[in-house]
Point group: C2
Chain length 186, copies 2
């Protein structure tokens, strides 16, 4: 419960703005009571990232991994957009938020975010490769390149929607992704 609150709070206040005092107020506990669970702010941040990853796996990955190949690639994209649209975290994609905040702050927390990013893009790339093996996408397609372009549109939809509140950002991402995947199939 503490960590779910922390994960939600971190997408609004940032992983650094997630202070122990604020989390104490939000959960109704005392600062030191909370502190005893984690030992340091950094450990709290790392535990919060673990929790955010579990939520993401349940909400985005698990449903999409029931598909395979091109369908999996498209499901991963669609589940991501849905995840942001449904405001599972009030500040949109937890990892996009954390990546932007921590990109200039070396340390174990940043390293953890980089690792999650690598797992996500690896999953997209693997889906592209499987789709190629199944003959659903052209063999001339560079999996890293296609992943970069699809992920760019996902991240942009997240960013634009948070900044402007305009849900057409999702429509533009869906259209761009559908056309890009279709082009990779031809």
């Amino acid at each position: 419960m503490i960590l779910h609150t922390a994960a939600r709070l971190a997408t609004v206040e940032g992983l650094d703005g997630l202070t122990i005092g604020r989390l104490a107020a939000e959960t109704g506990m005392s600062k030191s009571g909370l502190f005893a669970h984690f030992g340091s702010k950094e450990e709290l941040q790392l535990a919060t990232i673990d929790t955010a990853e579990e939520i993401y796996e349940e909400d985005v990955l698990r449903p999409a991994l029931q598909e395979e190949g091109r369908a999996r690639l498209e499901a991963l994209c669609e589940r991501f957009l849905s995840h942001v649209d449904r405001k599972v975290f009030p500040g949109g994609c937890f990892f996009a938020s954390a990546a932007a905040e921590l990109d200039t702050r070396p340390g174990p927390v940043r390293d953890r975010i980089v690792a999650v990013y690598g797992e996500w893009t690896g999953l997209l790339e693997d889906s592209v490769r499987t789709a190629q093996e199944r003959g659903e996408l052209d063999r001339s397609v560079d999996p890293a390149q296609l992943t970069f372009e699809l992920n760019a549109m996902l991240a942009e939809a997240n960013g634009v929607y948070l900044l402007t509140g305009d849900p057409r950002a999702f429509d533009m991402a869906r259209r761009g992704i559908a056309e890009r995947v279709e082009r990779a199939a031809a």
Copy 2:
């Protein structure tokens, strides 16, 4: 000089992490000496955004605006990537950094960032429209859609490069943008 230091600091520590005490240490002035220039932290933040915009206009917009139509669109993209690559700000694109930080924090500072985002995408859209009028891009292309996709790749290159340090992010953006624009020309 104060505001140039503030703009650089803000891309590393965030616009909120840009504290008056830290800026005082960085500039060699006293806190209250600095404070007298701005009156409040919010005014300091707004003045810092103005300065970042001036730097961006000089470094990205001015060179690209010497071109017209499709060439302008491509020059805007290329100057953006070069701007990030040359580390004009240590934390990459000032506005991408600020947008991600402020997207969940209502107020005049956030409003200012939203306005700058609108000006930038408006410039890209206008370039697309002019290119269409000149017969350089197909008339069936939706300017907002193409702008969304190009801007997505620019923002992703910025984000991935900051997170991973891998300059191939620029290559992938260049390739994706070139292919996307070429497709819009056919």
